[in-house]
Subunit: 84 residues, 2 copies
């Protein structure tokens, strides 16, 4: 089994209103040293395969076709061996 | 500046319908080696501080009071030096 560990993040130039809301909440809760919050997706996909090169190529396609919005988001990932 | 890198994930025993939907989509797109998908939140909080111990303690409180639902989610994080 292989596991792809994928981060899909808003591009730095894109406003993150959910992150801004968390920063505001933190200030209301007294955590006044918090300056900025960015919220991203972390996705793990388990594959029934041992071919790392093939699964890496598939994961790139999966990010581009399904998981990331190329207009506003960037992605990066690693493919690792997995027991389950 | 310090940056807390926080993962908030559904507990393994909790059903992830969004992840299941992604797995189904992958099969429809022909990625039939995908077995399971789990979708989590990845949150980066930047703090105006250099006191790692204090910020680690605050991040634990932030996860428990704001970011994670203790009934269904677990969290883990690292605090690292950050330039911005």
């Amino acid at each position: 089994m292989l596991k792809a560990k994928i981060f899909v993040q808003l591009k730095p130039s894109v406003l993150d209103p959910q992150g801004k809301a968390v920063t505001n909440s933190l200030h209301h809760l007294g955590f006044d040293k918090a300056v900025q919050t960015r919220i991203s997706k972390y996705i793990e996909i388990t594959f029934d395969s041992t071919d790392k090169a093939e699964i890496s190529a598939q994961t790139t396609q999966i990010c581009e076709k399904l998981l990331a919005n190329p207009n506003t988001e960037s992605y990066h990932f690693e493919v690792e061996e997995s027991e389950s």
